[in-house]
């Protein structure tokens, strides 16, 4: 496959950036999108140019590092991560636009790399349970209703990739925050900190400069892990419940 890429290049956080045009050839349909970028970077390095900076780690769709917006869609045309997106979803001769996540709360570090530590601060403000560590507790010590376990698991799948923020027209982090709050708040282990968790995670989310939710639903459409949009409603219910406590 021969492709034309228009990739956002930006030397540093405060440097001006621009979409820059590249040609790549000899791309096979089995390659992942990241392998295609690796191919381009090898050529750039051999030519003495700066390679394109992008985040990646596991390359198996579980770490959430490989965020980029491809043709206006977070992680591109398939509902998966960029590392699991294969070139067979493009056609020979296509022009592909690649941009970083765009959000005030996710400043660009370089090229396609953004600083997602705002998510870490949201997690740090309540996305955990306070429990003694050590050997694993006996599994039957805390019974978990099946329904709660399923709901928690559905929301625990979030990998913190930030696609929801990137896709949301308001740059809102509600789906991410909802995923973590619902995951912990429906479980007995999360119950003691149920109210303080939701209050402080929402407060941190607001302080980080994420936008407000207008229930547009773009987040859940883009989420590679299928976190349901109604999770946001469950977050709101937890918030209303916790507000008075």
């Amino acid at each position: 496959m021969n492709l034309t890429l228009r990739i956002w290049r930006q030397a540093g956080p405060d440097a001006p950036g621009a979409l820059t045009r590249y040609q790549v050839s000899g791309i096979s349909p089995e390659m992942s999108f990241l392998e295609m970028l690796d191919t381009l970077n090898e050529e750039l390095i051999l030519a003495g140019d700066q390679p394109i900076a992008f985040d990646h780690d596991c390359r198996e769709g579980i770490c959430g590092a490989c965020g980029m917006v491809i043709n206006g869609q977070a992680h591109g045309p398939e509902r998966t991560t960029t590392c699991q997106l294969h070139m067979r979803h493009f056609r020979d001769g296509d022009t592909i636009d690649v941009e970083p996540w765009r959000a005030a709360a996710f400043p660009v570090v370089k090229d396609l790399v953004v600083d997602r530590s705002a998510f870490d601060r949201i997690i740090g403000s309540g996305g955990y349970i306070t429990a003694p560590t050590g050997s694993a507790p006996e599994a039957h010590a805390t019974p978990v209703p099946k329904e709660a376990a399923d709901l928690a698991f559905e929301h625990a799948e979030c990998i913190g990739c930030g696609a929801c923020v990137a896709a949301c027209p308001n740059g809102s982090a509600m789906l991410f925050t909802a995923a973590k709050v619902v995951h912990l708040n429906v479980l007995p282990q999360g119950a003691p900190e149920r109210s303080s968790r939701v209050r402080s995670m929402v407060a941190t989310m607001d302080d980080e400069g994420f936008g407000g939710c207008t229930n547009t639903g773009e987040c859940a459409t883009a989420c590679p892990k299928g976190i349901p949009l109604s999770g946001i409603s469950m977050l709101n219910r937890e918030f209303l419940r916790g507000a008075g406590r």
Partner: protein, 207 residues
């Protein structure tokens, strides 16, 4: 947003049902309008109920408008740099909440000048809403403005009702579909109910 929106929605349901009395002739509708002024007597004095409702509605519209403005400001700030590759996002109803809301606000002003203060009404006879309605909807602009506004209302409610349920924490994975169906049904009933009056005048069923 959600609470003020639901207040307006409740009002709209009653308003639409009241409007349908136009199909039973001038006696029914004008009598109903007169009754609205005597509701609550003797606890309330003549016209008080109407003024209480007007105050509550004005508060709801103002709160809704101010909240919409603040939310929009915040949302635009959160995405300072737009994507170069733009793409059509979300449904039409969802994308048009802001401009649709502005259209509705302008319509509310027009509607009050037309049928409450009668400033721009071609008939303008206080106490005779039936005749005023027929006169207004007999002009191309009167009927036209109303029809456009009701389509905008249908779209706003279609997203708004479900969105309010979501905001108030009433949704969960099992209820999502049902709530969406309710939102569509409510939007459809309100739009068809409100539209039936100008259409009735235009095709001569109401004259």
């Amino acid at each position: 947003m959600a609470v003020s929106g639901v207040v307006m929605l409740l009002y709209l349901v009653f308003h639409m049902l009241g409007n349908l009395k136009v199909f039973f002739g001038p006696g029914d509708l004008n009598g109903y309008a007169a009754w609205l002024r005597t509701v609550g007597e003797p606890f309330l004095r003549y016209g008080w109920f109407l003024w209480i409702a007007r105050c509550a509605l004005t508060a709801a519209v103002v709160v809704h408008g101010v909240a919409a403005y603040q939310l929009s400001r915040r949302d635009l700030r959160a995405r300072p740099q737009k994507y170069a590759h733009q793409r059509q996002r979300a449904t039409y109803a969802t994308r048009t909440m802001r401009w649709g809301g502005v259209i509705l606000a302008l319509f509310i002003v027009w509607h009050i000048l037309d049928l409450t203060t009668l400033t721009v009404n071609p008939h303008a006879e206080p106490g005779h809403p039936y005749q005023n309605i027929v006169a207004s909807f007999s002009t191309w602009y009167g009927g036209g403005i109303y029809c456009v506004a009701m389509l905008a209302l249908g779209l706003h409610v279609r997203h708004g009702f479900w969105s309010a349920a979501q905001t108030l924490g009433a949704n969960n994975p099992r209820r999502d579909r049902t709530l969406k169906v309710c939102a569509n049904a409510l939007a459809l009933v309100l739009t068809v109910g409100f539209l039936s009056v100008p259409v009735g005048v235009m095709i001569g069923v109401v004259r």
